[in-house]
Amino acid sequence: MRENAYSVKIDVFEGPMDLLVYLVRKNDVDITNIPIALITEQFLAYLDLLELMNIDYASEFIYMAATLAHIKSRMLLPPVPGDEDEEDPRMEIARPLMEYLRLKAAADLLEKHDMLGRDTFKGNPFHEDDAHPEDQVISIGLFELVETFRQLSENQYHDHVVDFKTNRMTVKERIIGILSLLEKKATLSFEELLCEHPGKFMMVLTFLAILEMAKMNLIEIRQHIQNGVIKVAYV
């Protein structure tokens, strides 16, 4: 902990385990022989301090405080006669603490590795066949799938907003569109028209437009007997 005469720094611990590690180290005690009363007291004092300073802390801290208090109370009970093998109640906290310390040490070690992009770099080889930068290639896993789906779903949502508020085509506009198509080509298949603009909304719109145009006698709808193709033609 860094302190100087003019400012007091409150260490912020990410979780109760971090705080415990700090306390154990500060008091220079053996993990397998934690002075539980002292550590509990300091743990609670820290939480009080946070409260005093209006700093929110997670429920995990409260849970740990309860665990510590429980261990403390069990330490006060006399050992059950005939059950001398009973485990030291402090092991409940010592064991996970040891595991946590081991992992912290492993993390320290991992960080000391020569990291690619930080300590060591790979080359940027050039060769002629490197000619497809537009095909951004992705190696994929399950997360890439769900992440892509999430992005697509988000875009989809925005599309709808645009569709309905500003960009919504009307039946009338669709009729005009179909008429201009028929001007270029006298007959069109139903499928061609429906597929011109994919999407449920546009298909419904096209369908409504065709019905409306038939009603107005602008077009004739015919079905081929043999192949079943429905065609739309200018009257």
């Binding site: 060769h127 066949d129 992705i138 994929i140 892509t148 597929c195 994919p198």
Partner: protein
Amino acid sequence: MNDTRNIIESLIFVSKEPLSMERLISLLPEIEPAIIRKELLGLIDEYEQKQGGFHLVQVAGGFQFRTRADYKTWIRRLNQASPLRLSRAALETLTIVAYKQPVIRSDIEHIRGVDSGGVIRSLLDLKLIRVLGRKDIPGRPLIYSTTRFFLEIFGLSDIKDLPTLKEMESLEKKQALQKDPAPAHDEKNLT
């Protein structure tokens, strides 16, 4: 100085573009330009002497390591068969098929907003998706679904095992970790 040569070598090796003499000189203000020039020429010479798999060449106003033309036949092989890697378009399309199946082409195109015929075909070729049948709507479009091979690739026993959007949301970013992809000039403040 051998170290100067190594520094130059490592810089050219890492640079995305050919590294020009001016750039080298400006990157290494503590070294005499004349020495940089000398060591760079020495380095080029070294690679020419060695006649290895690649060499140091002067191109487009700079210096770059390039493979020697003698080995292009083999290099071409490398670029051909690479493991399953998909373009962004293919990944998007595959994702839609996976999550929305059974699905028809127009649904895919509606979600992606672009023509997807080519991508569907390549996914069919890769046997990641298959034709399930035809939908009973006008035009009788083909219906697509993912394949058993798709499950194998992703180590899934069932399509229902795909991670859900809900699950991803539950991994919400509560804390701002892996903070700012900070620009390099900030580095000092962070360490």
